[in-house]
Amino acid sequence: MKRARFLRYLGFGSLVALLLVAGFTLHLDLRVRSEFEGRRFALPARIFARPLELHQGLRVPQPAVEQELRDLGYKYAGQGESGWFVRRDDGLEIAVRPFVFWDGPQPARTVHVTFEGGAVAELRDAQGTPLPLARLDPLPIGGIYPAGNEDRILVRLNEVPKHLIDALVAVEDRSFFSHAGFDPRGLARAAVSLVSGRVQGGSTLTQQLVKNFFLTPERTLQRKFTELIMAVLLELHYDKREILETYLNEIYLGQDRDRAIHGIGLAAQFYFGKQVQYLTLAESALLVGMVKGPALYDPHRHPARALERRNLVLRETREQNTITLEQCSAARGSALNVNSKPSMGTSPYPAFLQLVHRQLRRDYDEADLRSEGLRIFTTLDPQVQGAAERALTRRLAQFDKEKRFGEPGLEGAVVVTDAQSGEVQALIGGKDLRYPGFNRALDAARPVGSLLKPAVYLTALSDPSRYTLATPLDDSPFLWQSRGAKDWEPANYDKKYHGAVPLRTALAQSYNVATARLGTDIGVERVLDDVRRLGVQRPMQPYAATLLGAVDLSPLEVAQMYQTIATGGFRAPLRAIREVTTQQGVPLKRYPLAVEQAFAPEPMYLITAALQGVVREGTAQGLANWLRPELTVAGKTGTTDEQRDAWFAGFTGDRLGIVWIGYDDNRAAKLSGAAAALPVWGEMMAALDPEPLVLPKPEGIELVSIDPQTGLRGGVSCAGAQELPFVQGSAPQERAPCSSGLDAAAEAVDATVQKAKSWLERLFGK
């Protein structure tokens, strides 16, 4: 009887215990699954630079293409289906990787490119058939990551080199591919060490992964037991490959200031500046070695210890026979090769990424950007970005050295766009290029100074009955009085007055007094209307001082304003994104080329000719140190009060660039736009082999010879006579005294020829 009751209690007790264990297990099961799923499926948006499209005539020198291929991780003289290139004859043979573009997948293929005179001469496929186009895969330039400083570059298992996995398994968990989540021998060892009072070691990769799901590194028996159950549960639900992939994306591999380096993808980027698939055996072994103690074996702080650990990993990998003796010794003989200055973010171009992120946020939910694995194709041109970075870095270092104004040193920002389409090709937000901090290109609104002048002259030239490039302007002392405002008496940069100067010269020499008089004559509001039509949206004060640039704009806003001039009066919103697709490549959204005509072609032609004059004979003559005069670049310097801001804005036939240099705290930089910003611009553009700025002449424009002495009609008999563009009928009628009867006759004949020409054109259709 007693015995039966005992058995009943026992049975009941066991049942309760069983239920408790089952409930606990169920609880753990839910937890482990939700943790695992959560980690596997939060995919950050991946962002790509523009793909390099090779075609006959493309102005790109061979070394630049080689550099881009190396940045993409193409191996020189490599092997396999794709991802390598080799020099052949007068060009390159490139095994282009397959890639899924917005307009569909592009298979791997081999391309032969030849170069001549800094441009692509010929393009052929493997069979020697001429190719119209060859598009390389685009450079990944970063992602938009989940909150909490958990930067991550998720990798797929098939992207991870086999030698990395071999090394990992050899060192951390030799029976990984056969065990059920735990290793009995390891467990026995752990039990022994438990008796000795310390719980350690014996963790399988699965257990290590589970450990990562907890936030605290507690080391109790209970935790150990829980981890064990969860590891077994994980193995029940997921296969080895899924577990390994998640492990590789979870593993903690060091610290970058306040940012934790989680995952092999980010570690490859952080320590070697590479995508994971390009890690060598030696590099893989180093990372695997760090798993045991990322701080202890930090290759930056403890290189000797890290090297020793790496070689141990290599030896243990060799013992498993997964690498050959030669591979092992070669790897052991190689240097650590870690980045000397570790990158500050996951993207080499954090400033550009901020612009992309802002444009994306208009159309997408922040949560989707961080978890849906969207693929974002941007307009960034790594070659342009590189040229901008080199020019700015070099010049800033030089100015800091020359000026010795102490810390913090000079700052700078650069924006480069495609002159026709408004695509942003490069963006620099500060001298610390890799640091995703304050973005001066987007967020530093600074007085623009003389950069606003072209708007004043554009407004004037829109009224050809009053103003032409030859109209004399008055640059004598000027006092502006208006009710409710302080009296305003602008001065010139050289503290002198220049009397009567032709309009084009007043702009070329950036005379403040003549410009102030001109702007107040035509009306501040009318000028500001045109500034707005040029694309500036920020509210501006309708004061006379605004005419001389007492208005704060960011470099990006200035770029938008000059873009409209570069496109001949068609406003094109600056764009950083071309396309967005799902992770699988299904197109979601395009950001199409859009233009809007904001100005008539004639005044645009005139203001551009005047801006070419600034470079040819005005304040930007210094550009001749970098760019040949035949390129007929258009540009404008800008310098603000006490030289706090140095600006240069200009465009060639293919690119528009804005450069700003100054101090964050508004100290006087004692550098003018021509002395500080212009050299950066010139050096950058020269490195990009610019196209000449060639303006097609609108129908309503005629060229008239002008005598520089009098500003009247000249001709061959006038010394130094210049041909200037005028809106038809607006050129001065009166002849200069130097002009002879012959000039008048020649002009009459020219006019007749023009008439005959247009009559014939109409007759013959072309």
């Binding site: 233009v595 005509q597 020409k757 072309k766």
Partner: protein
């Protein structure tokens, strides 16, 4: 066209006194034609795929190909015109109008091209009403 050149040469040759220096300032030099012609292999392919996409109603793809081509030859008036035509089909009338106006300054003496642009502009304006 040949007649025109000969006639112009005659007119210019007999009437204009020999001029020192460049006849026009650098600002008005015509586009380097050699370069334009060299590029056209790449352009032809993209235009072809844009045309077949348009015919098949894949207008977004057609526009993408044309934009790709415009990155290669940003001043090719035919590409702008083609893109204007696609935008018109997409019902983007304001864009169609602007895009058709865009190449007029580069169309030079090609009056056929200009006339077609004008026709597109009119069409876009009417459709927008």
């Amino acid at each position: 066209m040949k007649y025109l050149v000969v006639l112009l040469a005659l007119l210019a040759g007999c009437a204009t006194p020999p001029e020192p220096g460049p006849e026009t300032p650098p600002v008005t030099e015509p586009l380097p034609e050699a370069q334009q012609r060299r590029e056209s292999v790449a352009i032809a392919g993209l235009m072809e795929s844009a045309r077949s996409d348009t015919a098949a109603g894949r207008l977004a793809n057609a526009a993408a190909s044309l934009e790709r081509a415009l990155r290669i030859e940003p001043r090719n008036p035919r590409l702008w015109q083609e893109l204007a035509r696609v935008r018109l089909l997409q019902g983007e009338y304001a864009q169609a109008e602007s895009l058709a106006a865009r190449p007029n300054s580069w169309a030079g003496s090609d009056s056929g091209l200009r006339a077609e642009n004008q026709r597109l502009i009119e069409q876009a304006r009417q459709a927008a009403r």
